[in-house]
Subunit: 394 residues, 3 copies
Amino acid sequence: MGRPGRRSKFFETRSCAANARSIRMNASIFIMDSWYVAAIEAELATDTIFARTICGEPIAFFRGSAGQVIALEDRCCHKSLPLHMGMIEGCSLRCGYHGMVFDDTGRCTEIPGQEHIPANAVVRAYPVRSRHGCIWIWMGDPALADDNEIPDYHWLDAPGWGARTNYVHVKANYRLIVENLLDLTHLTFVHGRTIGNAAVVKQAGVTFERGDREVKVTHIMRDVQPPPSYRASVAFDGPVDRWMIVHYAPPSFCRLYTGAVQRQGDQILRRLDWRNLNAVTPETATTTHYFWGHAQAHDPGDEAVTDFVVSQIKATFEEDVVIFEAQQAAISADPGRPTSRFSTKADAGAQHAMRVLDRLLKEQASGQPVHIKFTELQLAPQLPASDVDIAIDI
Amino acid sequence: MGRPGRRSKFFETRSCAANARSIRMNASIFIMDSWYVAAIEAELATDTIFARTICGEPIAFFRGSAGQVIALEDRCCHKSLPLHMGMIEGCSLRCGYHGMVFDDTGRCTEIPGQEHIPANAVVRAYPVRSRHGCIWIWMGDPALADDNEIPDYHWLDAPGWGARTNYVHVKANYRLIVENLLDLTHLTFVHGRTIGNAAVVKQAGVTFERGDREVKVTHIMRDVQPPPSYRASVAFDGPVDRWMIVHYAPPSFCRLYTGAVQRQGDQILRRLDWRNLNAVTPETATTTHYFWGHAQAHDPGDEAVTDFVVSQIKATFEEDVVIFEAQQAAISADPGRPTSRFSTKADAGAQHAMRVLDRLLKEQASGQPVHIKFTELQLAPQLPASDVDIAIDI
Amino acid sequence: MGRPGRRSKFFETRSCAANARSIRMNASIFIMDSWYVAAIEAELATDTIFARTICGEPIAFFRGSAGQVIALEDRCCHKSLPLHMGMIEGCSLRCGYHGMVFDDTGRCTEIPGQEHIPANAVVRAYPVRSRHGCIWIWMGDPALADDNEIPDYHWLDAPGWGARTNYVHVKANYRLIVENLLDLTHLTFVHGRTIGNAAVVKQAGVTFERGDREVKVTHIMRDVQPPPSYRASVAFDGPVDRWMIVHYAPPSFCRLYTGAVQRQGDQILRRLDWRNLNAVTPETATTTHYFWGHAQAHDPGDEAVTDFVVSQIKATFEEDVVIFEAQQAAISADPGRPTSRFSTKADAGAQHAMRVLDRLLKEQASGQPVHIKFTELQLAPQLPASDVDIAIDI
Ligand code: FES
Ligand code: FES
Ligand code: FES
């Protein structure tokens, strides 16, 4: 397990100094000691090497003999050919140029034509885990990788929930996406045809909770009209109490607990419960792998209902992507300018998240450990046994 | 009205320091205190927000309730979404992200979800005017914008003239276009099939007049064969006296007075009179919005004649654009090299124009006022009542 | 003939200082005092101006009145229009903008509209020669250009050989191609379906000879199975003795002598003799004009055999190009990183070649003469009269 004292040593003992420099470059804009979602399980077929750049680092993913996912630096340390152009051999990759073989620890085990394997003949190997239908990767010091710290996204494959996971490539910095998820007042203007309506902006009672490494934003809207996509999913025929709770954990995990109940006196007539689970993985400074899952609890066993709900949500994500990419284009066209010149009340959550990120990146840059420990967070809603009643009681 | 003393204050009191820096960056290559043509009137439909970058600044144009054109900075000061992605509401724009509203002065008048409007919630508003079928924009200190200083392009909609206005996007710096217009010896080699022939280079008596902020180049060719496009427009059947007068005013206004008369003794048998009116608006350092109008006085009432003449001229512009873009590509491929290593006699006009521009940019950079005042220019041909006889008498 | 003492003067007396600086910029990555292949003879039609960038310099090629090739800087010194957009007039080019004429020495001989020709009105002229079906260009000080130093590629048009020459544009730095040609162990993994098989890596007896300005790598494989393309070209029906000799001369000439014999006791039953002649001409830092010829001596008079052999070889070049471009993309994505972190035994030839190049570039940067003299090289195989027996005797 990682100890802070080891950290700078880790960076120094990389296979060469230039390698370390490259890492530091990425580390100035990305938190490295963190889990990220690298892929949806289904993206990674057997017998195929899958290439994806994460936090600026090109990575080759493949399945070993037992089906387990292995992730190696996607650049042969011999002559820079991407390893994804090579061949899988058991739990190793053979480079497609001069045939060197690298095992699942990144160590070279064969150099055709010679016995001696130089100490520098090694590529980086990344800790990876399969969980909740996703492949998770640890981008920092492998010694610090802790399975228990993989963010809790259990709703994606838990009983009592009908869920789907999606991937969209976005030409924008990951922060723009996190800010979006933490300020839901945009629903009214961007998503008026699906999940937004005037209620979100005008009637919402919003509270912000700011932790050392997290943010929680709670919207409670009582006695409001349900938005179009709610009505399409559950047969509401009158006003509802509606909630939207967003929990942010760095670097870029946003879990949304949303839903509504229609009451008659003390009785609940109809109820909608959703989890919208976002894992925003940086690719480069201006591009992002955006993974999002959506789970519904009102008809968990009905695939058609889940498909319908997710198709509604998908439309809202497509609306958001247009926004992100337009923001990024405007920012890239004049990078000297601040992206935001003032903040609104509704920005309080996003603003705190950005401050947390900035502080962590500064700590990382100064060599302090920034290890993101998901299990130590305080603000995520504590879920009772039934899990569905959480917001109703608020 | 602008006073020099106010100037630096204007730059300082921009909504934030970064904004001012961005302006200064553009100001190192573009004159800011000047009118520019932003669009042809017809480009700007009602109910549509039109986006165009001018002098490096992205701008959203739209028509207010009374049909008047309004121009706002095309980047929301909240989170950088381009405002052209929003909605028109009367004389205001509502941003398409969080719904803030900006009026025609750029001031934010509504932030959904809160009462307080922060002082920084403002985008830049640009003075705009409709004149001669074009939309003109003032890129500098709004306090200095003076309608009387809009360059005189009245031939585009004056009685006695048949005219058309055109737009072409050019992948080249605006200076390459100005230089082209001020050295008409290229007509022989680039436009031999239309308006050029050997006469332009070989027989022209050229005079150069150099003002403090302007240039005039006069070509008089006596007893020469009219070029192909002249012959196609007017039934010349013998040699003519031909003239081409180019007047340049900074930053990039070039008005060409061209024509020819066929004489028999003291009598004028046939006569061709054209105005070619160029407004060269920088987009970025390597791209330009090139607006040009063309007016003819020989058959002003006959639309077919005007169309025919303009189609001839249009062909020459297309030939020029190929040249500009090839020059720019060569320059961009090796930017350390001077674009020109020596000058010819024919370059005298272009050379002076570039010196004027360089001097003005230097003055602007040092904080001196460079306000371009069109009405104070001296060298533009003084037009007699009939306007057509001007060159004949020269 | 060039004397070292003249050299720095040459760079200083270029038409202007910026020109010299531009040259120096290219000189930091390219050897300038060298012949390069600029084009295949057939690429350069009569009456057409052919544009190609070599070692970072844009060049216009055309044929003069006698059919001889002339090469001028492809950027008019007047206003930067590429000269390839102009017209051929005898042994001169007329610029397509203002009509200036430049003769085959680069000197301006006509400026339309004036008598005086300024001293700076000159573009660079490059020594060019036609030899072995190729057009060769000298990129350095013209005074040092020596026809005798054009690399020996005579097999491309010699009696007793059937040959073809090919061109492929590669999006990779030229060094990646040189390294490839000097380490043939990649044949097994990249070209298994054509010229490679396990023998290359596993059974080869390889010797390296390192000269001051050259490298020779000799592979002798005795009693091995001939690879697929050998068997397709000559009817081998048993094991062969096979050889591959690679000779490298800077900047980037690699000549491969390859072949095989099938013996029965002292008798030679079947024999395959090939020359693979590579001229790797840098275009920019990340792109290359790759010329390669292939000659066969087993059926020199049969065009169909030559076509078949070359089609086999062409397939291997296409496989290599994929490798080069993938390497370059990986390198360009993270340019701070070394392209190679260690070397294998098989790298010894490529490694020495890169050291020779680095040393020559360093000498060039410090103003020392680096003039590449092909005739003074020592290691190229000395060919007996019959030329075919060379490798068999080794
Ligand atoms: S580049 Fe991978 S083995 Fe050589
Ligand atoms: S980005 Fe315009 S209102 Fe937020
Ligand atoms: S640019 Fe070549 S003659 Fe003017």
